[in-house]
């Protein structure tokens, strides 16, 4: 087997191992929460029998290890269990399955994240490369200053600023990003424009600065001087000679920021009342809806691991020493 494939499989295996460890941590962290689940969920008014029946139904009378195995086994089959919410002391069960609850929220969040990524990543690369090309000029300084400004403000502040500008004054975009599945794609994109723009402003600076730094770092290499002395144009020097060697650090920062788009958007979702997974998790934590919290945490962890795995693979695949061994 090609050594690169082997390395990729190794990374994949390590990723799965990490995910397994994370699932253990998530499960046991919730296990250590004080108080009784049944009582907390059903409320003080619940009778002892109801609580006992509830505990039995949830399997809380089983040892933790058994419950973990049952939980992880059903998760592997795509079943995250049933939400606690909707149950009440009255005994009427209006609860929904976790998958049913998370599904649409997750797809909304992914939609917003993709939208922000589609704008932010090319923009950051473009700004980073051009800033490296024209380093120490007015353009370079202007790009650095403006991206640094946007990253320096807290994201809710950027969000309110955008609302003030684009929805109150200019009235171009709605301030509330309430989307649903029935909307046509363009309509959804239009409504999600302001949260996407907020996220873009927050993550561009980091990626742009890393792109610029990675390229400028390489410009001192002898092979760059050689390229110049072969008569290569400034854009060839950057795009053909520096960039192919700069991917590893750039991709790592991109992956990190993309992960942030999925797992760190709570504030932005709250400001724009966007029905994403971040809001759902906040609500679930508040109402002690353990199965939902577990599912969200696991999804977040998987996102991080997957994106970092992707960055690793790109770093390996762009390193000719690994790709073309002796």
């Amino acid at each position: 087997m090609h050594p690169v494939l082997l390395t990729i499989f190794q990374r994949l295996g390590l990723g799965l191992l990490t995910l397994f460890l994370v699932s253990v941590v998530i499960f046991s962290a919730l296990e250590f929460l004080p108080g009784d689940f049944g009582e907390a969920v059903l409320g003080q008014a619940a009778t002892e029998e109801t609580v006992a029946a509830f505990r039995r139904e949830l399997g809380l009378d089983q040892p933790a290890v058994v419950r973990y195995v049952q939980w992880i086994a059903s998760v592997l089959q795509g079943d995250f269990g049933t939400s606690f919410s909707g149950r009440a002391a009255s005994g009427v069960d209006r609860s929904r399955s976790v998958v049913e609850m998370i599904g649409p929220r997750l797809s909304n969040t992914l939609f917003l994240a993709s939208m922000a990524a589609i704008i932010a990543v090319p923009l950051a690369l473009f700004l980073g490369i051009t800033a490296a090309l024209k380093r120490n000029t007015f353009y370079d300084k202007a790009v650095s200053a403006s991206t640094l400004t946007t990253i320096s403000f807290p994201e809710f502040f950027v969000a309110y600023l955008l609302i003030l500008l684009f929805s109150s004054w200019l009235q171009w975009f709605p301030s509330l990003a309430n989307v649903n599945d029935d909307m046509p794609l363009l309509e959804r994109a239009y409504r999600a424009a302001l949260p996407a723009l907020t996220l873009t402003l927050v993550i561009v600076a980091h990626m742009m600065r890393m792109t610029r730094a990675a390229i400028i770092n390489l410009l001192a290499s002898p092979y760059i001087e050689m390229a110049r002395l072969k008569g290569a144009s400034p854009s060839d020097v950057i795009l053909k000679h520096a960039l192919p060697n700069a991917w590893a650090p750039i991709v790592n920062v991109i992956a990190f920021n993309l992960a942030y788009l999925v797992v760190g958007v709570v504030v932005v979702e709250v400001v724009f009342v966007y029905p994403g997974i971040g809001q759902l998790m906040v609500d679930a934590v508040k109402s002690r809806d353990i199965p939902v919290v577990q599912a969200c945490a696991l999804i977040f962890a998987a996102t991080y691991i997957l994106l970092n795995l992707f960055a690793d693979v790109v770093s390996i695949a762009t390193n000719p020493r690994l790709l073309h061994p002796k």
């Binding site: 001192a220 290499s221 002898p222 092979y223 001087e225 050689m226 390229a227 110049r228 002395l229 072969k230 008569g231 290569a232 144009s233 060839d236 053909k240 000679h241 192919p244 060697n245 762009t318 000719p320 020493r321 073309h324 002796k326």
Partner: protein, 545 residues
Amino acid sequence: MSTDTDDSVLLEIRDLRIDGFSDERWHEIIKGVDLTLRRGQVMGLIGESGAGKSTLGLAAMGFARPGCRLTSGSIRFDGVELMDAPESEKRKLWGSRICYVAQSAAASFNPAHRLIEQTTEAALSHGLQSGAEAQAAARELYRAMQLPNPDTIGDRYPHQVSGGQLQRAMTAMAMASKPDLIIFDEPTTALDVTTQVGVLAAMRSVVEQFNTAAIYITHDLAVVAQMADVIKVLRFGETMEDAPTREMLSAPKHPYTKSLWSVRALQKEAEKSDDIVLDVRSVDAAYGSSKVLHDVSVRVPRGKTVAVVGESGSGKSTTARVITGLLPPSAGKVFFNGQALPAALRDRSVEQLRQIQMIYQSADTAMNPRHTVGDIIGRPLEFYHGLRGAAKQKRVLELLQLIELDGNFIDRLPGELSGGQKQRICIARALAAEPDVIICDEVTSALDQIVQEGILKLLLRLQKELGVTYVFITHDIAVVKAISDEIVVMLEGRVVQQDIKDHVLSPPQPEYTRRLLASVPEMDPDWLTRLLEEQADVVARADGD
């Protein structure tokens, strides 16, 4: 090159001045240099590091590195003034009519692209050839440069071929667009001597074949003697001497030029001794699973100098690491005064540590930049001899005197010292322990000829006065001839030969010793031609059999 018409002049530099930026201000580093190069002529540019050779070579292309600026004078290349030409104009010449061969091919090839892509890049981007033509031409050049598998080697990435091959490929890259002028910037300095011979021969034949003019930059007079028609000696940015090669070699005029011969003039009578202080017996050693030393035995007589020579990767430094205990051997033992030393450093007593000291190639990185000279030399005095306060201070001053430095150096930081002074401090630090044996690992390799001579003389004097024993690791045969009593020749982790100097240097010798010594360039400008003829004879005879 026969007539003196203006038409034959390819490059004419007049009163060129270049500034370099350091210590927060601009200094003049090229101070009014003139240079005239005719078509097809090869000029050797020699001088020590900091003489401005590379700066001048690049300026011949109208190029100044970041931190340098061309201030005044004129650079005319084939009638075009490059001094104030915009970069876009110069780019048309770079890679098409003027090409550059860098010192380190390994660093100057882009790791992300195949060799052939890089070889043909300039010819394609200047529109000189079509893709297929350029590729065919590149393969032809690989063949001319005697690269193995010339038809397929271009498909490889830089890390997949050896340093010597890369250096040839880089010359092929420079030749690809059939330039009028090539700047060779120390193209063989990073190579082993046996590799260097082949590269020199290939470069010379290609330059002759295409009648290309060249500026050949080097600090090695013997190398330049093989390559150049004329030689220019540079020092501190000024021309010291200009002369045709043979004239300069037979009758150097300027005292500075004469001094460049100095190390080669240094000689020491070899003495035989059977009083063995350090005895490495049948040592095997490995880094992880790759075995690098095979049954290595070295005997070091007391108060003498044993030179360990060999090419990079031959196991010289690994042997030193085994002796010092940094790398415990997987088999065999090291005996000191007849007693076996513990294999690992941490098992050795302070007394055992004191007896063997080490001096490294790069004095820069071997000293803590935040410690003063007094701290650096004082540390072993404290650690091994328990000296403190005034006693320590007194001993540091004595040691400084011993290495011929002034007492006021005691408060300086390494950053304030020259390369030679730093190496002297490292020697003093080793001496501070009052060791029996000092292992010198390529201690003069990073130094200029004259500074090198000073350090070697110092080491010889210290040996005479203190009776210290040296294990002197080097790849430089001239240094070996200058200072050693015995020579150990190593190849691929094995000892080929250990004997007294005169025996190793004269026949009968093992085949590898003979080849190694034959590859060391000599001052005679006919040396390379003669060597190649001899090799051709050997091959012809072998074929005849």
